[in-house]
Symmetry: C2
Subunit: 452 residues, 2 copies
Amino acid sequence: MAETESCDVIVIGAGLSGLRAAQLLARRHDVIVLEARDRVGGRALAHTFANGDSVDIGGQWVGPGQDRLYALIETMGMQTYPLWDHGDRLVHSRGRLGRYRGTIPKLAPHVLLNVHWMMTRFDAMAAQIDTLRPWDHPRAALWDSMTVAEWMRRHAVSRRACAVFAAGIGAVFAAEPHDVSLLHALFYARAGTSLDNLVSTTGGAQQDRVHGNMAGLADRVAQTLGPRVRLGEAARTIDWSGGVSVETGKRRYAARRAILAVPPSQAFRMRFTPDLPAGRAGLWMRMAPGACIKCVAQYETPFWRDRGLAGQAVAPELTVRVTFDNTEQGKTAGQLLGFIEGDEARRWSGRDPAERRAAVLDAFAACFGEQARHPVDYVDRDWTAEPFSRGCYAALMGPGVWTAYGRHLREPLGPVHIAGTEAATRYFGYFDGALEAAERAVAEVEAALEAS
Amino acid sequence: MAETESCDVIVIGAGLSGLRAAQLLARRHDVIVLEARDRVGGRALAHTFANGDSVDIGGQWVGPGQDRLYALIETMGMQTYPLWDHGDRLVHSRGRLGRYRGTIPKLAPHVLLNVHWMMTRFDAMAAQIDTLRPWDHPRAALWDSMTVAEWMRRHAVSRRACAVFAAGIGAVFAAEPHDVSLLHALFYARAGTSLDNLVSTTGGAQQDRVHGNMAGLADRVAQTLGPRVRLGEAARTIDWSGGVSVETGKRRYAARRAILAVPPSQAFRMRFTPDLPAGRAGLWMRMAPGACIKCVAQYETPFWRDRGLAGQAVAPELTVRVTFDNTEQGKTAGQLLGFIEGDEARRWSGRDPAERRAAVLDAFAACFGEQARHPVDYVDRDWTAEPFSRGCYAALMGPGVWTAYGRHLREPLGPVHIAGTEAATRYFGYFDGALEAAERAVAEVEAALEAS
């Protein structure tokens, strides 16, 4: 391990953020990307079914306002297509199935009004947040001392209103309402325009998909980088005492600057020389991600469409709480997508795969009929079991974290600049945010390299 | 690094828990203790003043019910002495100073009654917790979905009652009420008998000190282990695929079993082969510790005693929220001890030491008069800045952690057994709990070694 390889900039992490940062830098600088896994893409990952169809079993969506992501998709020669969003939606509650249209399930009028009022009120508060400095809001201390669960308990008139709102929170954060600080939830909603936008399909954050998968986008960006990307090299030690030196267990790399594009809790695992300042360590050790198992069943056809169903269900009491018609445009085979989220994901993590599959198909059958119990193929992915992710979709802030530590989130650590979706101010937790953070980190690095 | 040293049991961490485990095992087994720091003691650490007096700037107390700790102190030939606890206490609030006796500051009767009622109600709930399985309580899901802050907001009749109760929570957890799940707080109180016991001096958890310091106790236990203790060897990689192999960057060690006696968030930083199961990683990455800066000013004499003061003050609005007369029995020089806790500690961490000292002495002066502004010596220690602690007194559970992950807390990880105060069922977060966890882990290891 005596050999040291030198370059201008080391990028740590070959998720979309790190890859995009490297791609931008590579135009003018000598860049090396270090990736712990044996693949690129980070939280973007595809699976190929037996029939050759493929599917994103990591992040997959792109929607209006995510201009950076649409542009990159286009630049890389890929096409988007809309999520299937026609027909009735389903709500499964208390063992009964109801059909509805629009974002909010069909419920008793007082429940419906209450959920609508909660959404409106939540988004009115979110609209006040400066995503660059959430801690500056006059009510930041109060909002950050509360969880979303506490806020819901104050404002929900019934258990059902609570359950429906919680299903929305679960879908957006892959977490329980008590996992998330109200201030963080407001910031997150604001960063993604509004909670309403984040739970919406057409016109919202779940509008479009990518032919060839989001993971394919990461692959294409990686291809432009060629041998600059080094797989299976987890950064273990980062010396930032003068320039940057990174040790991976295989080799040592030296550079003038580095971009750290990994989830915060993974950054916390690395050894820094000199040691991390207390505030940075305190932040990173408090940013555990949400919990999600993404489940996709493949069928001969999207049979639910024949019955006028959109393939979208909300089922707060089932293993799978939210479903989508995940069929790729132009393919014959249909796909149902379901998310196991939050505590339910934690319960199912590590259990027998066959049992998990059966529970997921039970839930699909409860919503879409017995036919759903017999897919031609099936895949699920427990992101909490991935050693270099330990959850998804993104890191969460529990109570107090933003106000006590938030100012360290995007601040460079000497010559180490921070990318990754958790350093975004727009679409934090989304691939679009990963690109925003990459651009900002690249701008910082280029300014620093020019100045020196 | 080719050389591998073999033994029966590797103990990782030379805090009191690891040292005690090694001491017990060393009677019959070949033990090696790996310690990341260049000293033993973990969260026990002493400072020597210019005049030769010394003081614990880590944990220091022992009180009734902590039988394991009293016994070890005696076995190691050390003596305890009572904290100075005579005279009036002070409460500093809204710029005014009040004198009182007993545990709860002198306040308006309705505030006093409310605080007393909150304490009583809290301890009545705590008494119902089975510390082996807090998640089994019928209300565990509800209590774990709340922070202590939410519970306080529901039960406090006034801001002052809130502030006084929060000062107690701050003193016990070195954290803000919103940092801590109600279920965790109830568990913690129950593990330490009651919240009333944990905030008490005479008759409670702050009753006694140790001549020669708690850090001296760790030193003496370490002396019984001699060269078995290896300093400056942080465990980086733990292979637990068959027996245990630990790599420290300097050497490789192999053993049949290991005891992991480090704070959970430090364990999360280590690389495990095979990878940690999701539940264990999920737990460890969610157990960030409290935040505390311990501050001690030394004076020619304990001058406050002449004025009939105990040296104990509660000051919710000052930098230092809680003070004690920390004078060692038999010494001439007086000591005032103050804690900067929770968000206040986070604010002061990393700031100019002289500024911090001035702020602490301001607080001491506000309570004990101008004389307190002029100590002969002063020391403080920011435990959030310690790379191998990153906080104190102990790891905290935020909302949801106990119910989603708690069952993994003490469960062996194959041949790796879990010690450390965070694995205790009695006095979790205290040195007595560190000894309990050590004894339990040693019993597990001995049973396993005999069986194999």
